[in-house]
């Protein structure tokens, strides 16, 4: 077998560095691009560069935006007294699709995990605390994962804001819709029982 072109290898390696893409997929994408028309590659390259150039973070909530302030923060019909704390853009998008939260968001950009080098100061937490103090925030909804890292971050936030007098809530845990009790893990089932509601 002959030696593979260095240019091709470079392309494959670049794709393989992306999250969720392994060596095999990187190779497939590379071959696809090379075999397809030039304009496919040009479009892709332009889209990446344009996004990198024009997209930035909202000064208020750290959501992705083309402006200084994102569309959500800039919308005066939204309730500024309620803030939903999320880990990243994709979680924000999930909630936004539901059209259930009428307030604002705060993207903290990760979860506290010293093992991965993520400590409170690596996250957008100082700006959150500032927002809560300076704006008239009445409710903070913690929309973080129910994992050790999510719990730690949630506890950290609530500890920091315990004297602020605002209402802090967290997403409930329990049996998923359509889920069967028999196949629900015991910790979740217990939690669902403890958090049961008047029916």
């Amino acid at each position: 077998m002959g030696k593979q072109s260095e240019i091709l290898q470079n392309l494959i390696d670049s794709f393989a560095k992306l999250p969720g893409i392994g060596k095999k997929s990187a190779r497939r994408i590379s071959y696809y691009l090379i075999n397809s028309e030039m304009k496919v590659s040009e479009k892709l390259a332009d889209a990446v560069i344009e996004a990198k150039k024009k997209l930035g973070l909202c000064m208020e909530c750290h959501n992705l935006t083309e402006h200084k302030i994102c569309d959500i923060c800039g919308d005066d019909k939204r309730d500024g007294s309620s803030i939903l704390v999320v880990e990243n853009f994709s979680d924000l998008y999930m909630f936004e699709k539901l059209n259930i939260h009428k307030g604002l968001y705060h993207v903290i950009g990760g979860l506290i995990s010293p093992l991965d080098g993520i400590v409170p100061s690596s996250l957008n937490l100082a700006s959150l605390f500032l927002r809560v103090r300076e704006k008239k925030v009445r409710e903070l909804i913690i929309g973080l994962n129910h994992s050790v890292e999510g719990d730690t971050t949630a506890l950290y936030i609530s500890e920091k804001l315990k004297d602020s007098g605002i209402n802090i809530t967290r997403l409930a845990t329990g049996i998923p819709i359509g889920g069967e009790i028999e196949f629900t893990d015991e910790v979740t089932l217990k939690q669902a029982f403890m958090e049961r509601r008047i029916f």
Binding site: I112, S113, P114, V119, V148, T152, L155, K160, D185
Partner: protein, 367 residues
């Protein structure tokens, strides 16, 4: 739980092997290094998803091959067939339980209970506390998946906290607040662990005491005591107070030293500590009784006897004791035995047992 059929492909020194079992005692005999233990290992991997010899699946691949494949057909006491297929291509593990892909070990943990007694396990009675905690943690989680979850959560909190402590010791960070948060989790999850461990000992002990008495010909009275520096009247409160008091100490040492991950089980024989005063023979006997009691404990909780794997029979049990062990296992417990000692052939009752001779990766049925 019983295994009625096993298939191995490129597993250890087997290219292709398929065996069927229809008796309770399945014995593999042959010279050393021929592949007896490999079959015992495969049985335990099918049930526990981990090997008792290695932590790495790669080591189980046949020399020169790229991956292995093992398949087990089981049936439980209510007659339900259960199929487990494990394949490994040198990169990805694929575990199928009833044709459904298992993505987390905890999803299958305990579904096919296996208890094994293998050489080199003396660490449980002679070694550091971690070995005894591990023994009890494994048995509890085989029957209680909530325990496994609490334990995993607890362990990840400890890891995170250790990282912070080591950085604080090195003066890189000052995350005192994080320590307090981790401590509150350690106190709540830790007391959950304590409660389940002590409950386990309470339920496990009667089986152990009876079996230990029986196999020692009434010579030894056994006991197991949970050892902790916490106040057992209110473990959670005591743990949370101690964590607060020892915070500076923990930072100084750069590692977390308070919590149930430092507790121990004290094994007692005739009122004295086995670890300090036990003879080699007493240690061996204690371990055998622990393992046998494990089968009764699992049966009492799940109503299902585990499969028992006895690797290298006479290394842990002498011939006189082996008859006694056989009596304890003679309760519809499927037992896989390996031994290089051919005298076992005379001891086996052909009505209830199967014998296979293993020779350089070939396995032939004798009866």
């Amino acid at each position: 739980m019983k295994l009625k059929k096993i298939g191995l492909t490129n597993f250890r020194n087997y290219g292709d092997l398929e065996l069927e079992f229809d008796k309770n005692i399945i014995c593999f005999t042959g010279l050393n290094g021929q592949g007896k233990t490999n079959i015992a290992e495969a049985v335990s991997v099918l049930g526990l998803l981990t090997s008792f010899r290695t932590g790495s699946y790669s080591e189980m691949i046949r020399f020169g091959e790229e991956g292995f494949f093992i398949k087990g057909e089981f049936f439980n006491s209510s007659g339900r067939d259960i199929e487990v297929v494990i394949s490994y291509d040198g990169n990805i593990k694929k575990i199928m339980y009833q044709n459904k892909r298992i993505t987390r070990f905890s999803e299958m943990w305990g579904k096919i209970p296996v208890v094994y007694l293998i050489p080199d396990e003396s660490i449980i009675t002679t070694g550091p506390p971690a070995a005894r905690r591990d023994f009890c943690d494994r048995l509890i989680s085989l029957t209680d998946s909530e325990y496994l979850q609490i334990l995993n959560e607890y362990n990840s909190v400890i890891k995170q906290k250790n990282k912070v402590l080591s950085e604080m010791k090195a003066g890189i960070s000052q995350s005192s607040e994080l320590i307090a948060i981790y401590n509150s989790k350690i106190a709540s999850a830790g007391s959950g662990i304590y409660i389940k461990r002590t409950e386990f000992i309470k339920n496990f002990l009667p089986y152990f005491v009876e079996i230990f008495d029986f196999i020692s010909d009434g010579l030894y009275a056994g006991n197991i005591i949970y050892e902790t520096i916490m106040d057992e009247k209110d473990y959670e409160k005591s743990l949370s107070v101690t964590l607060r008091e020892q915070k500076i100490q923990e930072i100084k040492r750069g590692i977390s030293v308070i919590g149930p991950h430092k507790d121990d089980l004290d094994f007692m024989i005739n009122g004295r500590s086995l670890r300090k005063f036990g003879s080699k023979g007493q240690h061996k006997l204690f371990l055998v009784a622990l393992k046998l009691a494990g089968t009764e404990y699992i049966k009492s909780v799940t109503d299902e006897y585990p499969i028992f794997v006895l690797d290298d029979l006479y290394s842990e049990i002498d011939e006189h004791k082996s008859l006694k062990v056989a009596k304890i296992l003679d309760k519809d417990i499927q037992t896989f035995i390996t031994t290089s000692n051919s005298r076992i052939i005379d001891q086996l009752d052909q009505n209830v047992s199967q014998l296979f001779r293993v020779d350089n990766g070939n396995c032939t049925a004798v009866f």
